[in-house]
């Protein structure tokens, strides 16, 4: 029995080893085609244009290989991670993700890494595009107030991640030290109308998602791989809302996608589009008609599509809780004329009630209250300030930033006769949820709003914000009123 098993294993081993050898000889041939020819002449020099996400530098148009000089500055500084949340980021160039670098296959890159004198720590850079020890890490280790220089030849085409590799590597990456470098063919990638830079990454903070104030790095959460934030382009909403990328109907888009990690793999998806073309893992293999593409931590992908219809495209990690609860969302706004041959919009809506179905609640109001600590009553201004942030986190997705909702689907909160008529000032709606047919300012709605798991203080702040900002006659709702209502039930 045992010897048979060993024989079998040996056979498998032999077969797999020989097939690996076979495969290797093939790939070696193929690789020699994609390698840059080292004998090609490098003439002239240019200073590389570097850009912050979501923008991409223009390609270098010289017909020959050239020397590209890159100056990248490491800056440690506190910045916004989410509304009301600050974090001390370690950056390549002052933002997260780091500056986008663009060179061509065969170019000679002269790299200068500057460590700002106000920084605390030594840093270096490991560019995955470099063929050489540590990707340049050892050659670029530099103390605060110093600069390091090294050079490399961009041998392989592709989209590569760069990151800091100074010990402890995990912490340098977790604090924001990564970016992308594109090595394109000498003649450039095919022309498109727009190119954008989007990089996903996680943050591990001492407080949970949305907890206000300055947050420290939490090492235990990083070891456990349990991030509080998963974001696109370095902060919640960095490339969404007002900062969304903008294109017109009919235009083609190329996305340079990266994943800085430090831990998670991204299931990158654009809600409302299909990728016509994906350069798998940022290399030269092209896959077509793709819905979701994996981007490994420390890896990349290039995705291309054409925007046929107007609307907002949501770029998400389809490990979906990360998108809607931890911030992994960016947006592209497509403006232009409708094309009903491609997409009609909603044609008809009917009530559908299958037998025995019940609506699940997120949480009952009482449970949320039980776990919360007593919080002192806020002033009106404090309520409005807190309410503005809480509204964005909890309400804006349906009722919209302007409070006007979406006609026919989500009711308006602006000068709402429905809200003003309620004796509970809306407290019951947030604590208990609301479903069924209602009439707001003359329009009918038949939809479901789930109960929202917020504490008394938060409910009071949101409602005070809604009554004051959306022309509902003002007022100041106190946490005590919410508590009273909650206990009465």
């Amino acid at each position: 029995m045992k010897t048979q098993h060993i024989k079998k294993t040996m056979m498998i081993l032999i077969v797999s080893v020989s097939s690996v050898l076979l495969w290797q000889s093939c790939t070696q041939q193929e690789q020699s085609r994609t390698y840059s020819d080292l004998t090609s002449e490098v003439t002239g020099e240019v200073i590389a244009e570097l850009t912050d996400a979501p923008f991409v530098p223009a390609r270098i148009t010289a017909k020959h290989n050239t020397k590209v000089i890159v100056h990248l500055e490491v800056i440690e500084q506190p910045m916004r991670l989410a509304d009301g949340v600050e974090y001390t980021f370690w950056t390549f160039g002052g933002k997260v993700p780091g500056k986008f670098i663009r060179v061509r296959q065969g170019d000679q890159v002269e790299f200068h890494l500057h460590n700002h004198p106000d920084n605390m720590l030594p840093h270096n850079i490991d560019l995955h595009a470099v063929t050489g020890p540590g990707g340049g890490a050892e050659a670029s280790l530099v103390a605060p107030g110093k600069s390091a220089q090294f050079s490399f030849r961009a041998l392989n085409q592709g989209l590569y991640v760069y990151h800091c590799a100074t010990a402890p590597v995990g912490m340098h990456i977790a604090n924001g030290m990564y970016g992308l470098i594109l090595v394109e063919p000498l003649e450039g990638l095919p022309a498109v109308d727009h190119e954008f830079y989007v990089m996903q990454s996680e943050f591990y903070t001492s407080g949970g998602f949305g907890q206000k104030g300055h947050q420290e790095f939490d090492m235990q959460k990083a070891l456990d791989e349990r991030p509080d934030y998963v974001v696109m382009n370095g902060a919640v909403g960095a490339s969404a809302g007002e900062n969304a990328m903008k294109v017109k109907v009919g235009e083609s888009v190329r996305l340079y996608l990266g994943n800085g990690g430090p831990n998670l793999v991204s299931s990158f998806h654009v809600i409302g589009e299909i990728f016509d073309k994906v350069y798998v893992e940022g290399g030269t293999l092209i896959n077509r008609d793709v819905q979701t593409t994996l981007i490994p931590a420390g890896g990349s992908a290039i995705a291309e599509f054409t925007c046929e219809v107007p609307g907002t495209l949501h770029l998400v990690d389809h490990s979906i809780f990360r998108a809607f609860n931890k911030g992994a969302l960016a947006q592209i706004k497509v403006v232009g004329d409708e094309n009903h041959q491609v997409f009609t919009g909603k044609e008809k809506e009917e009530v559908y009630l299958p037998e025995g179905s019940a609506i699940q609640r997120i949480s009952s109001g009482k449970q949320a209250a039980a776990s919360s600590e007593p919080i002192p009553e806020k002033s009106l201004n404090e309520r409005l300030e807190a309410g503005a942030i809480l509204y964005k986190q909890n309400c804006m997705a349906c009722h919209m930033d302007h409070g006007g909702g979406i006609p026919g689907t989500f009711p308006t909160l602006v000068n709402s006769d429905f809200l003003k008529a309620r004796a509970d000032k809306g407290i019951g709606i947030i604590l208990e949820g609301l479903q069924g047919e209602i009439t707001v300012n003359g329009s009918n709605y038949n939809n479901i709003m789930p109960a929202v798991a917020l504490n008394d203080d938060q409910v009071a702040s949101i409602l005070t914000y809604v009554f004051n900002r959306f022309e509902n006659g003002g007022g100041h709702i106190k946490a005590a009123e919410v508590a009273e209502w909650r206990n009465k039930k």
Binding site: M120, G134, T166, A167
Partner: protein, 254 residues
Amino acid sequence: MKRIVTSAIFFLLLGCCDLQAQHPGMKTIPAGTYKPLMKTVADEITVGSFLLDEKPVTNAQFKAFTDARAEWSPTRVKALFADNQYLQHWDSSGAWTDEIDLMPVVYVSWFAAKAYCSWLGKRLPTLDEWEYAAAGKPEPGQNISSTETLILNWYSRMSGENHLSGSIYRNEYGLWDMHGLVWEWVYDFNRVVSNDDSRNSEEIPSGLFCGSASLNSAGASDYASFIRYAFRGSITGNYTMRRLGFRCAQSVQQ
């Protein structure tokens, strides 16, 4: 902090008072052992008893030195011994206040720090002495949960050098601000990136980069210490920096 420190407390009790009377501003560190971060060095390192400055050297103290030894003044120092940022904060900080007197001196090179110590009949602590002394636990009652948290918060706060020397915390040896104020020079700061075995001379630096760090270290999650070692690996003797100061040590006369 996963270092295990076993200290000979009896030695301290017997020897301390006598010695300290002769060395104001210094504390006697008892002999003991500590676990170094790099396993490649040894599992445990024995450190003999020595004296160490209670606080990092201040601007006022260093000013007295450069006044007495003009070859170390900012205008006359040789480029070989200090880069062009040497003591630049003395120039740019405007009015010299009493507070500046008491802040730790920074923008000093290893050569200058060493010269200062020998001017006083002292020396720089060795890396082992410094690490061993810095592993001392915070004295209770200072509202510090752990040295590691203190260090990590210091990295993200980035403002230590603007505090007074002797204002952050005191440890069990009576030493102030071993962490949380400024980085400090040690005599053999570059030891972690060189090695007795020349065959390995190219391998050792990478011991602190990337994957090998987790294989060679005693505590892979001791991020606070990794950063200190990486910092030492990034500097050379004539470097001066905004957040780098020092304190002196002295051997105990046997």
